[in-house]
């Protein structure tokens, strides 16, 4: 079976190319390993757990975000690095923005607490706390592609994970941190939810954060802005909607 891989190496004169490889393995990660070991040792990608939990092997297959270790490939598939993020080499992207974003939101328990919570409370945050920081949602997000200050899907999902945690003392702080370049800039297009390998639904989480924000007295800053200027044009619509 043949697959195509988009290459990038800043140390070469010909930085970009699309190379074709013959592989026998149908699991994408195994196929990549096979190529590296027996065809082209310069092929570069990340991997770790081989079972879909470390989030390091996310790539694009025919334009869609996938975890290599959980993906079956077909003839002529095109493998590319994730989008919207600097590429270091071949399929390896720079993921250092994760720390920056999580810190910006302050998504963590603010004051350690042993407040008693029940199974229902746990289930409320169970799905969100399954995020593996694979960056697939970031790669697929149209807003992040044009605005690198956007606190995108996984960081917002993680914001909700803590806002919904009864142990959090003060949810206002996290909510405050996601008002600008955050929940109101999302178009609710749902692409992030489609590509999430953990079946997390960042779009729904963002909607929920919008509702909670309303309840806590925040309002949509974009809407205010637009209210003044283009009231007639955007009435009732999310101003960023496509």
């Amino acid at each position: 079976m043949k697959i195509k891989i988009k290459r990038y190496n800043q140390e070469l004169i010909e930085k970009n190319s699309i190379d074709e490889f013959e592989v026998s393995n149908t699991n994408l990660l195994k196929a990549l390993i096979q190529i590296k070991q027996y065809n082209d040792s310069t092929l570069t990608f990340r991997c770790g757990c081989k079972s879909g939990v470390c989030g390091s092997c996310a790539v694009k297959v025919n334009g869609l975000e996938k975890l290599a270790c959980r993906t079956k490939i077909n003839q002529n598939d095109l493998i590319e690095p994730l989008s919207n993020i600097n590429i270091i080499k071949d399929l390896v992207i720079d993921v250092s923005h994760e720390t920056f974003l999580l810190d910006k939101v302050k998504s963590y328990i603010d004051i350690n607490s042993n407040k008693e919570i029940n199974q229902e409370d746990i289930e409320k945050i169970d799905l969100q706390s399954n995020c593996i920081l694979c960056n697939s949602c970031y790669s697929s997000c149209p807003i992040y592609s044009i605005n690198k200050d956007f606190i995108g899907p996984f960081a917002l999902t993680r914001a909700l994970r803590y806002v919904d945690d009864k142990k959090l003392k003060d949810k206002k702080e996290i909510l405050n941190n996601i008002q600008t370049n955050g929940i109101w800039d999302c178009t609710l297009c749902g692409t992030c939810s489609l590509v999430c390998p953990q079946s997390i639904d960042p779009k729904a989480d963002i909607l929920k954060l919008q509702n909670i924000s309303f309840q806590e007295g925040f309002s949509n800053p974009n809407l205010n802005n637009f209210d003044m200027n283009f009231d007639y044009e955007f009435d009732g619509f999310n101003p960023n909607g496509f």
Binding site: N9, Q10, E11, L12, K36, Q37, Y38, D40, S41, T42, T44, F45, R46, C47, G48, C49, K50, S51, G52, V53, C54, G55, S56, R70, I88, K89, V92, V95, S96, E98, T99, L102, D103, K106, S107, Y108, I109, D110, N112, S113, N114, E116, I117, N118, Q119, D121, I122, I125, D126, S129, N130, C131, I132, L133, R158, Y162, D165, K167
Partner: protein, 532 residues
């Protein structure tokens, strides 16, 4: 120079960092992966602690752990671990780890092998994932400094004192010395050297263990490698013990159960292995379990089985085999997590902290990395507090040469091919059941491999993110440590826990000792010492 250098950002490294920082120490965590890419994410089943003493008792936890260790452990250390386990779990809960709860809002516990009590706390079957991400969030909150994707090449040790370590910055290809008053190794275990036959992460290659050995650090009980009974046939992805804990059976091709599924891992593994070498097959049978329960408590196992073998565990039998899983042995530490080298500490799976002995109980590793990770952070940071400054040793140049030499080696032999071969030889000859002939064979194989090394180079000659180079450096470490496993296995002429010798089928009192491996005056010394 930093006060405290922590190498490794799995659960052990992050806990050490958090407690050291809280102790007022300036810390730097350096690792070859990002924290959330570390192997700790893979832990599924749970973490052991006696939380409520109506039915369980800390003494029982101590007894079970000691019994599983086959007397190769230190009861005082086990006591410290078990007595602090409750605090560790409650601490994890207080920072946000969402443990499953029972109807009275108490942390729910499941039963693991080797014990009669329900003692294993869990977050569905994503326990490790939820723990590491929560710890990572706390590290961000506490402004812990990280250097990610830095590969530890060697420790800086002179006259049995550690002054830091030498790293390769994977992103730039540059060598960097990091000097520190104290250093903690938390680089994870060495079961990954069985590469194709392990449940471990592909990035788990015994690097820390090998670097320690080269620096004169004493390794202990390296022959004790735990083989997990239930990994998926072919891919060796783990199916957690929680499956059996929740009631799954092990059956052979005649659909017959052949062992109590909740015996300790060494016994279950041996029983399965005997079936397999007699050309039988072994399956995990979950069909009788309530589907709802599987969806709630074992969602990851269900997904893994379906994705990697196309099997629906609620309806079909799942073919399994044992795979190398955990390293009971490692860097010998004392009760303060100190190694035999001054200013050097170790915690987590990389350490042999006298807990697991010949066989680890499921759920006891996570509790160890949290509890001892935190304590090691305090110990090492206290050590730094008493120090004013340290001298810098210039070793950068020699290491640049070492790496430069690798770039210049001819590529007549493909080292990846040899790496595969090594893993298979290791599994067959230094695996679940070992014998003298096979061990000798393997040692010869390694010596032969070493002589071929000058003809195995790397093809990628670039500096930036050279994974080919990293793979090669890992391969060198794999060679070094797998030889130590064989040498230590050879000298232990008995069967105990995970270590089984064909010619010596029983436990022997003579070997109620720790084995050690140590390089002193450039000579490798292998021997036994009293339990401490």
């Amino acid at each position: 120079m930093v006060d405290l250098l922590i190498i490794g950002s799995g659960g052990a490294g992050l806990c050490a960092a958090l407690s050291a920082k809280e102790n007022g120490c300036d810390v730097l965590v350096v690792s070859k992966t990002y924290p959330t890419h570390s192997q700790t994410v893979q832990a599924q089943g749970g973490i052991n602690a006696v939380l409520y003493e109506n039915d369980d008792d800390i003494n029982l936890h101590i007894e079970d752990t000691y019994k599983a260790s086959c007397r190769l452990s230190n009861k005082d250390n086990i006591k410290t671990l078990c007595e602090n386990a409750k605090d560790s779990v409650l601490w994890l809960e207080s920072i946000g780890v969402p443990f499953n709860k029972d109807e009275n809002s108490k942390i729910k516990q499941r039963k693991f092998g080797g014990t009669n009590k329900k003692r294993t706390c869990y977050s569905s079957d994503y326990t490790g994932l939820k723990i590491i991400h929560t710890l990572f969030d706390q590290c961000i909150k506490n402004k812990i400094d990280f250097k990610n994707e830095y590969f530890l090449i060697d420790l800086i040790v002179e006259n049995k004192k550690c002054y830091g370590a030498i790293f390769l910055d994977i992103k730039t290809g540059k060598i960097e010395n990091i000097y520190s008053k104290s250093t903690i190794l938390a680089t994870g275990g060495y079961a990954g050297v069985y590469s194709n036959n392990t449940t471990n992460s592909l990035s788990n290659c015994a690097d820390g263990t090998a670097a320690a050995l080269r620096a004169g650090v004493k390794l202990s009980n390296i022959e004790f490698v735990q083989f997990h009974p239930t990994a998926l046939e072919n891919s060796n992805i783990l199916i957690s013990e929680s499956a059996r804990g929740e009631g799954a059976y092990l059956v052979d091709s005649k659909n017959k159960r052949f062992i109590d599924e909740l015996k300790s891992r060494d016994e279950v593994t041996k029983a399965i292995y005997e079936k397999l070498i007699n050309k039988d097959k072994v399956y995990l049978d979950l069909r009788h379990l309530d589907e709802n329960k599987i969806n709630k408590l074992l969602p990851q196992e269900k997904r893994i089985a379906f994705e990697y073998t196309n099997i629906d565990i609620t309806k079909e039998l799942l073919p399994i085999n044992p795979a190398a899983h955990y390293s009971m042995g490692g860097i010998k530490t004392d009760k303060n997590f100190k190694t035999n080298i001054e200013n050097l500490y170790a915690c987590g799976e990389v350490a042999q902290s006298s807990i697991h002995g010949a066989n680890r109980l499921g759920g006891n590793s996570l509790i160890e990395i949290i509890t001892f990770g935190k304590k090691a952070g305090i110990s090492a940071s206290n050590n730094s507090k008493n120090m004013k400054s340290i001298k810098n040793i210039e070793s950068i140049t020699s290491f640049e040469n070492k790496i430069e030499n690798i770039y210049n080696l001819p590529n007549k032999i493909n080292f990846y091919e040899k790496k595969d071969l090594l893993a298979n030889e290791l599994f067959e000859k230094v695996g679940i059941i070992k014998n003298e002939n096979d061990l000798d064979d393997f040692i010869n194989f390694i010596d032969n491999l070493n002589s071929q090394l000058p003809n195995m180079g790397i093809l990628d000659k670039s500096k930036i993110y050279n994974k080919n180079l990293i793979d090669f450096l890992e391969f060198l470490n794999q060679i070094e440590i797998s030889k130590i496993i064989a040498l230590c296995s050879k000298q232990r002429k008995e069967s105990r826990g995970s270590h089984n010798r064909l010619e010596f089928k029983n436990i022997s009192n003579e070997y109620e000792k720790y084995s050690y491996a140590l390089i002193e005056d450039e000579l490798l010394k292998i021997g036994f010492e009293e339990i401490s």
